[in-house]
Amino acid sequence: MDVALFVTCLTDTFFPRVGEAVVRVLRHFGCRVHFPPAQTCCGQPAYNGGFHTEAAKLARRMIKVFEPFDAVVSPSASCATMIRQHYPTLLENDPDWRERAARLAARTHEFTTFLADRCQVDLAAHLRFAEPVTFHYPCHARETYGVERLQGWLTGSAGVDLRVPEHPDCCCGFGGVFAVDYPEISAAMLDDKLRLLAATGARLVVCNEGGCTLNIAGGARRRGLPLRCRHLAECLAESLGLMEPQP
């Protein structure tokens, strides 16, 4: 299957290893991966900030970049949801773009669900963890996969010592521009989240969202907590022997 990778600006800039893991895992399961180099940002910061005109300009641009492909896969549920859910809303009154937005929305997938549902990969069967593991459920995955599903992938993996955090779907306080617009509130939410994660005793946090990882890993480092975040794509690539484990 031919797949276009929508890597997202955060992953491209801060987490290239996640992008690499996505490519290697997709190839492992038989996909031919393309990377349209014209891609930039999906426009979510503008959209969430209430700047719909600016967001729509970027949406049209991204549609042009990705519409030649039959399937678009992104390591971020949040950015995939921007295309799947918000592009059609954003362009619903634009007769030239409405159809194109809907077509791209239908072809865009988040990485883990694409693997599980389109490629029929049993994620749990391939995952291995050498240490206790906990997870952060990203709020923006709500439309894509539920907390039970993520938990199921982890629980099912061989020999896993999964430490389910209390209130696993609690927000980490990132919220995009929210984190810098309301730093006091965001910091308080981050404190709550870190307390829940640290209480599990695990040091490895599965976190599939770049924004949440920036927030959680940065917050843990500031507080001297020994937590490190990994995308499920990285865990899969390591388990499958496609990438060297990273300390």
Binding site: C9, T13, P16, G19, G43, G50, R61, Y182, D192, R222
Partner: protein, 465 residues
């Protein structure tokens, strides 16, 4: 409009109060768990939520019809109905009724609608003594405080604060024992109930088919306050209507479960008209005030969905922002996610700019809402509606950013510039910086982008492997 210093100050004040924060955290999480467990015990809670949302939406779409039917039924049952366009009109109506009937002592059932219109102060100015009879509201009144939650008004107080207020205001011996405190309040209010002549309530649901008011309480004070006094005045927001009595169970099943995790509140009171000759108790006169106060305008606009709200408070309990900043930070009768929408809608003249923006859009509210209000979606819509009013610096920044994202070349230039701008602490992290970066760094470090971006890796080797 812009970010308000007052909002920031209220937030800081709330966050600094560790006693309140700890109480709030414990209580809200307990309620979240209780809600999930009690709804989970139903055969098909999701279908029930769909149904509740559909009934409310249907009613809103035919509201004038149902309001007419409701008014007719109330009158047929011997009650009176008065429309009130705004808060001032509603206050005037209640004060006029008090004067007309010569009423001197009012007992109140917990009601957010009467908070919204500021009824207590108006009645007191008109010479009517007012007593809140819900235990939480009673303590708020004693302590000259304001409710911080639409269901649990004293969620921000711990038992020591309650004990201190009761000892100070009632002259009773200081005790922190909740049972003893409740007994003291009960004895005090019994005397008030004996003397009262006006009962004031809101309503949870107003049934158009029968003209019935449904009031849900846990303490029985709702029943006392609406049967004992000579006159009962109910202030009913026009969005409280449901079509039929048969629709009521759908909401009763969801309301307390969403709110406190109880299958049903302890007292569900259905009131149809005043006392009939054969009745043993009940008020001689029933007056229903149908309050608009901005609701009709909301109904006509793009935020009509918020009028489905049944005021269960589930979105407050679920909200990680509310959990930390508490109700008072919102400076509104309606705090939490629903308050962030209702407040600017009901008080268009006020400066509530921050409310729709002070949210991570995590969606916990939507997951909890029994009538499936798309709270994050509406918050986004509200932000867009306010976008012209955003600070010029933010608008300029977004436009510059959007321009930079307009081509891969400028995007990559931005990537490189950012990497150069982020100072390395020697271990690949940024811990110091200016501007928006400094706000990020208030609570967390920022990992520096690695030397090569994904697209560089792709070009260098990954594409060719």
């Amino acid at each position: 409009m812009s970010r308000s210093r007052e909002f920031a100050a209220r937030v800081r004040r709330a966050l600094a109060d560790e006693r309140v924060t700890a109480a709030m955290r414990g209580t809200t999480w307990r309620k979240v768990t209780a809600r999930a467990e009690s709804l989970g015990a139903l055969r098909d809670p999701e279908r029930l939520r769909d149904l509740a949302a559909q009934i409310k939406q249907h009613t809103l779409e035919r509201l004038p019809e149902y309001l007419t039917q409701f008014a007719r039924q109330v009158q047929q049952a011997g009650g009176h109905v008065h429309p009130a366009r705004d808060a001032a009109a509603a206050r005037r109506l209640v004060c006029d009724l008090a004067r007309q009937y010569g009423l001197k002592l009012a007992v109140k059932v917990k009601s957010m609608t009467t908070e919204e219109i500021g009824l207590n102060a108006a009645l007191e100015a008109a010479g009517v003594e007012v007593f809140e009879t819900d235990l939480g509201e009673f303590i708020i009144q004693l302590d000259h405080d304001r409710p911080s939650h639409i269901v649990s008004p004293i969620i921000h107080k711990d038992r020591r604060q309650v004990a201190a207020a009761m000892a100070r205001e009632l002259g009773c011996a200081y005790t922190e024992d909740p049972i003893a405190l409740t007994r003291i309040a009960r004895a005090y209010l019994r005397d008030v109930f004996r003397r009262c002549d006006l009962g004031i309530s809101g309503t949870n649901f107003a049934v158009a088919e029968t003209g019935t008011l449904c009031i849900c309480t846990n303490e029985g004070n709702g029943r006392m306050s609406t049967t004992r006094p000579r006159v009962h005045v109910a202030i009913v927001g026009i969005e409280k209507i449901i079509p039929r009595l048969a629709d009521l169970p759908v909401f009763l099943k969801l309301l307390s479960r969403s709110s406190t995790g109880q299958p049903l509140g302890s007292y569900t009171t259905l009131i149809t008209g005043p006392k009939r000759p054969a009745d043993r108790d009940g008020p001689q006169h029933l007056h229903v005030i149908l309050l608009d106060n901005g609701r009709a305008d909301i109904l006509a606009g793009p935020f009509a969905e918020v009028l489905r709200c049944v005021r269960c408070g589930a979105c407050l309990n679920a909200c990680p922002v509310y959990r930390r900043i508490g109700g008072h930070a919102y400076d509104s009768v309606y705090p939490g996610p629903i308050g962030s929408l209702l407040t600017p809608l009901l008080d268009a003249a006020g400066d509530h700019y921050d409310l729709p923006f002070a949210s991570s859009l995590c969606g916990a509210c939507q997951t909890a809402c029994p009538v499936r209000i798309d709270l994050p979606g509406l918050l986004l819509r509200m932000r867009a509606a306010l976008h012209g009013g955003q600070p010029w610096s933010k608008r300029a920044a977004i436009r510059l950013w959007q321009w930079a994202m307009g081509s891969a070349a400028t995007y990559q230039l931005g990537q490189r510039a950012m990497r150069a701008f982020l100072a390395d602490d020697g271990a690949g992290w940024t811990t110091r910086g200016a501007g928006p970066l400094s706000r990020w760094l208030e609570a967390r470090d920022l990992q520096r982008p690695p030397a090569r971006s994904f697209r560089q890796i792709w070009e260098e080797y990954l594409s060719r492997e």
